[in-house]
Amino acid sequence: MNSISLSQETYTQRLWRHFHADKFALNGLRIVILLFIVAALAPFLANSHALIRVADGHVSFPIFLSLEPIEWRFLLYVPLAGLVYFFRHRFIAHPGIFILAVIGFIAAVEIFLALTHPINDPTNDRDRPASFKLLPPIPYSPIESTPDQFSPPTWKHLCGTDSTGRDIAARMLHGARTSLSIGFVAQSIALTIGIALGGLAGYYRSWLDIGICRFIEVMDCFPPLLFILVAISLFESQNNMFYIMAVIGLTSWTGVARLVRGEFLRLSSLPFTLAAKAIGANDFRIIVRHLLPNALGPILVAGTFGVASAILIESSLSFLGFGMQAPTPSWGDILSDARRYIDFAWWLAFFPGLAILITIMSYNFVGEGLRDAVDPRLKMK
């Protein structure tokens, strides 16, 4: 309709086109998505409870008895988030009804979990007799000790077993949830702090900028792993998953803060910031609705690399014995076990090491692909 305009594609479409052309990035993204699906479905892929069990003409689903409350939440809230996203346009049209529905759903799930928490049934029903049984692909729970100790990879134990006979494949699948969620949540915490502090420093400048920059420099003086180890040893009694997420997040925001500060310094001196001010927008609106969307590309790139490094930090922590508490499986924890038996049990080191390598590499490919896609100097194509 208009001969003057050069292209009608939006920023997101252009970003996706460049990202799509990068095969490494695209495959990296596919692997990351696959990992998330595997992690989400871990209890259904590796479990000592049968998926479906028929005994005495009675059909039951023992697998649901084995789910922890957090797994229930995961199973119910992820589809909820998907539904909200799918109906987002109607959500905007009738926010009241939708918010009520979402809150109602969450309340129902929480009440259900509070009432049925003792439902968790640790008994192993894999070997119980039944007329029909559908077992998960890996019929072992990650914390279950089988009689086969140090079994090398066989058809029975695809990735072998460790010193107490636990199935490595099952531990890896469940460990993926730990590693991925720690990477994701820790980096979200880091991004939140980094964007908030970097944004304030870059927008208000003057003494606030000086203060925040000096704080960042002080934080950067500590070697990150040492810093985290000290923080964890101070609160050793509480080293559950959320605590480790928080510690990693609280110590790795400085890079994001520097980046956001730089972007905000640049953006806030552009005329559109003055124009937004001239139309009567307040500082909060200018920061959140005008500057932040413009800085989103570089932040996304940094965030992607950050997830990879958070996963690596978690693995290092578990390897050093400062990570998850004993029964919770994580990749670093399996590696840490491998240390003592590496002379004969190669599979203990090989499979978790490979998993970490593939995950970190995929995230880095995604990050590099994004970086190239948002870089305006490469938009010649």
Partner: protein, 278 residues
Amino acid sequence: MTMPLLQVENLGIHFGPTVDPVKAVDGISFSMQAGETLAVVGESGSGKSVTALALTRLLASPPARYVSGSIAFEGRDVLQLREGELRSLRGKQIAYIFQEPGSSLNPVFTIGYQIREAIELHRPEVRDVTAEIVHALDTVGIRNPASRLGDYPHQLSGGMQQRVMIAMALACQPKLLVADEPTTALDVTIQKQIMDLLKDLKRTSNMSILLITHNFGLVAGFADRVVVMFRGKIVETGPTAQVLQNPQHPYTKALIECVPKLGQKQHRLKVIDYAGIQ
């Protein structure tokens, strides 16, 4: 005589050190009546843009220092207002259009979204915001406005972008429109279109316009009165025709003469001889 819409008294704005500061605006006074069009003319660095931004205290302080005087808009001194009161003044009472339309629009949002923001900020009573946006775009001469709402700034030409800026300013129905060199970044034909548009708006609404420019060519036939600024001071003021035909101050004469005229053979373009002006 009724109270003027805008009354600037002895305004002084300094930058830099307190000892021997840069006096960007050095004790200027002028006033505007409602519906009047005033042009502030001067070169780069004469203090005209600083004056324009100071009207709603858009100049951050520091680095700028408002050292003296008052800016009374409808009787209220802008320099004494609190931040919240300033925000309801900006856009709603005094709206701006700037020199570079391309970079004054946020590149990541559609033009419809940006005009919507202006309306939602200042006219919460409007029920059909989309119709209001379409109306604003129609007023500034954008053809087929309804289909343009989803366009991003980079998809528009410079002239179109400036029209969108004007539509955004008009959407808030301000009493005073400050046009800070609105045509400097545009080529001559677009310049004329934009000036014609502003003339139309002036005729159809009771809005006052403060035009900031270095180009006397734009002033003739547009402004009711002219204020000439030189080195932070007002050197001459008067009705447009009188200033153009019979300039009193040597700087005004020099400024008028240095506008090149088409069809006139000149060996050299006249430049301002600063030594002759004191």
